[in-house]
Symmetry: C2
Subunit: 144 residues, 2 copies
């Protein structure tokens, strides 16, 4: 299924007229397979072996491209660096205040919130994001 997602993503790139370079392929592959929410630097470091000459700028450039096509979402929390999440099915994130762990959390889309927001504000709504904060099971146990 990761294979399939990758193909879909590559098709999306073709349709948008975006060239498919080895670096882009590798970044996408890593995002899909990692099942996590890596920072740009983490992606850069994890591809060091395959692409010893790849520049950090390439990672940033392509994450921006993927974002523009809609393949990837940028997650900005309070901490230093953004994290990037492959857009697959609708889901939200729940984040541990103590250890920073991020867990995916599926929930029927909040369409009614979007609709009401349109009516109240006059915006044309395209998207929304939500994060839930709390304490993960592990950190609940370790009462310091």
């Amino acid at each position: 299924m990761a294979e399939e997602k990758l193909h879909e993503a590559i098709d999306a790139m073709k349709n948008s007229g975006v060239r498919i370079t080895p670096q882009r392929h590798a970044i996408l592959e890593h995002l899909i397979q990692s099942m996590s929410h890596p920072t740009a630097d983490e992606i850069y470091k994890s591809l060091e072996g395959k692409f010893p000459n790849m520049s950090v700028a390439t990672v940033y450039n392509n994450l921006r491209v993927f974002k523009e096509i809609g393949l990837v979402k940028e997650l900005t929390y309070g901490d230093a660096s953004s994290r990037f999440d492959c857009v697959t099915t609708d889901h939200y994130h729940i984040i541990c205040d103590d250890c920073g762990k991020i867990v995916d959390f599926h929930y029927p889309g909040l369409d009614e919130v979007e609709t009401l927001a349109e009516q109240v504000t006059g915006f044309r709504v395209g998207d929304h994001r939500m994060e839930i904060y709390g304490k993960c099971p592990d950190c609940q146990k370790s009462k310091h």
Copy 2:
């Protein structure tokens, strides 16, 4: 009413054993009165007149203190710097993709989402945030 909020905030500081310095008073006052979502630098610049010697570090330090007491929330969007929002009544934000305008948007708290998240993930939930993205009325008119 801004006056009143300020007093409440100052009481909260007293209860938390946090000293009320002129700088803290001014930062809080600005946050409450501005009715916007300023960056740390905007706060710094707007208080330059009153406090010519105030350091940027002071602004950052105190915003962190306010956050810890629960007086202020940090809003991190994709852009360079965080914005800070006085915690008053429950509300969310709707943000224009084009011009970056941020508009408050009231909505009955999503308590049922928090509850479900607890059940599904085992987290103990304390808080959540949501942002809605779209195109504001002004930017809809100016079809580029």
